[in-house]
Amino acid sequence: MQEDFHYYATYAAAVLAGYSHDESLQICYSANLVDSCSRTFLERIGAPHSAATTQLQLEMMKARLDRIGLQDITRIWASFHFLPGDLYAPVFHGFRMYRNKYRLICQPNSLLMEETVHLALSKGPEAAGLAMHVLCDTWAHRNFAGTPSLVINNVSNQIWEWVPGEDTLFRKPIHFRHNPALPDNPEEGIYNCTLFQIPENSIMNLGHGRAGHLPDYSFIRYSYMPAWGDYSIITKDNPSDYRHAFAQMVQALQYLRGTQDHFRRDQYAWDVLSPHDDRIRSILTRRQTDASRDWQAFGESLSGEHIPPFDLERYQKEYREASDREDTFLGRFIHAAQAQKSMVVNAISSSGNPLAGSLVRRKPFGRFPHPTPGMFREAGS
């Protein structure tokens, strides 16, 4: 998912959930910040590196690919962009190292997603926005894992798009190229993807890189053969998945605002969406690689207020100059990011899976029922 959904659509979802304009802006800002909060960004504002929620291209190119380096990559991508669907998924074949990677495949409606939303309760709009980013990505990034792996994340060369015709959907082949400088061309069916690399842990095999940006576009429906699927073909219906993500986001935000008593998996705020369903469907199915304008217009029509564009500089001065940094927007965001990472890494580690590393208690005494930020330090970092 991109800025169109993480920023403008999240704003619309927050307004529909009952938040004010200012609160909605903070929520959507936080949701979109997850894609920009790299170590480079944190270093610039003088914040702890352990709060990184993404890696820039250059950071990934420099990343170590030994055990410690891979754990660092997995901690970031599995915690914020590819939340594992089932850490105890039954795998009846393969060695442990295959099973460990298989169990990191992202799927929506997981226990971890539920826990992500619960973790953000009463933590303010920053934590709510961060949780919404993670929730939405479970729909867009499903079937891919947040760890470099050829045997999981590779896709077949033949991918078809299902293009809507007058009466039915017809099949159109998708062609891939490797030139990120050129934009994707949906009309010609030409998209960018990462190069095929045989080394299992090559950074090119991280997440959905081999399928390019197909999971990031709301309009596309496509069929492909994932490397892990035992030659079965998966048809990904992005308009439907994105609509579910939006409805689930409204439901989760209602819970975080306190208008719902509980949040459970597989619950959607269809009743709130129904008056706007036609408009949402039309935005989601329009063939465009960036739906920001449509989502912005929709959000503004809901609140009657202007949505300013995302500006990475907006809260930096406040954070740098604050005497108590924890009580700033970025301070609370960093706090929420550390809590989310601790929770996910703890869950992965507790399942016996070493791919995200292990957590070491910083405090030698006391009992903590749930991980809290600062309670753990990342092993090896």
Binding site: K62, A63, Y98, L150, G209
Partner: protein, 177 residues
């Protein structure tokens, strides 16, 4: 290309230059050291591919290609081990053939990169063409063994330098958001 691969390419390039120097300085026995290095590298790469297939890739769609690749490399490594007591001219022919084969592989990789509109296709193409050219010249001068060894030594040094240069080449990846 990650930092790890860059370091690996840089070290391999330096080793290739060192071995080529050895061949040029000791033309009588230098090729035996080279044969030993190649056979160890092929055996290690073959075993690594087979291990990867058994533990991971056999459950992957299209993973059998990795099995065949591993078997091929391992077989080639075993064959290379047996070449120590045959005439030097035959060994030089074999080394030229391997050099030429690696050139063909470089050109195929470069064609794939070009087909994908990647910017990093020129250096592999140059490396592939020069490797094939060196292999051909070596085969032509095989009757004069000293000349062939010299040509091969220079060719190996040139390939090593290209590999070092490739370690500094810029690569790009699709950014996931």
């Amino acid at each position: 290309m990650s930092a790890f691969l860059r370091i690996g390419n840089f070290i391999t390039g330096i080793l290739m230059v060192l071995v080529s120097l050895m061949i040029l300085l000791f033309p009588e026995d230098g090729h035996l050291i080279l044969i030993t290095c190649i056979s160890i590298a092929l055996l290690a790469a073959g075993l690594h591919s087979l291990f990867f297939y058994v533990t991971m890739a056999r459950h992957m769609v299209g993973g059998r290609a990795i099995l065949y690749f591993g078997l091929f490399l391992f077989d080639l490594g075993v064959f290379t081990c047996t070449l120590y007591d045959i005439p030097q001219a035959m060994i030089m022919l074999y080394l030229s053939a391997i050099h030429g084969f690696s050139g063909v592989m470089s050109i195929l990789r470069s064609r794939e990169s070009r087909r994908m509109h990647a910017s990093s296709w020129k250096l592999p193409l140059l490396s592939g063409i020069s490797n094939i050219a060196i292999a051909c010249i070596c085969a032509i001068f095989i009757r004069s063994i000293n000349t062939a060894v010299l040509i091969y030594g220079f060719g190996l040094a040139y390939s090593g330098i290209l590999r070092i240069l490739s370690a500094f080449q810029r690569t790009r990846t699709v950014f996931i958001s």
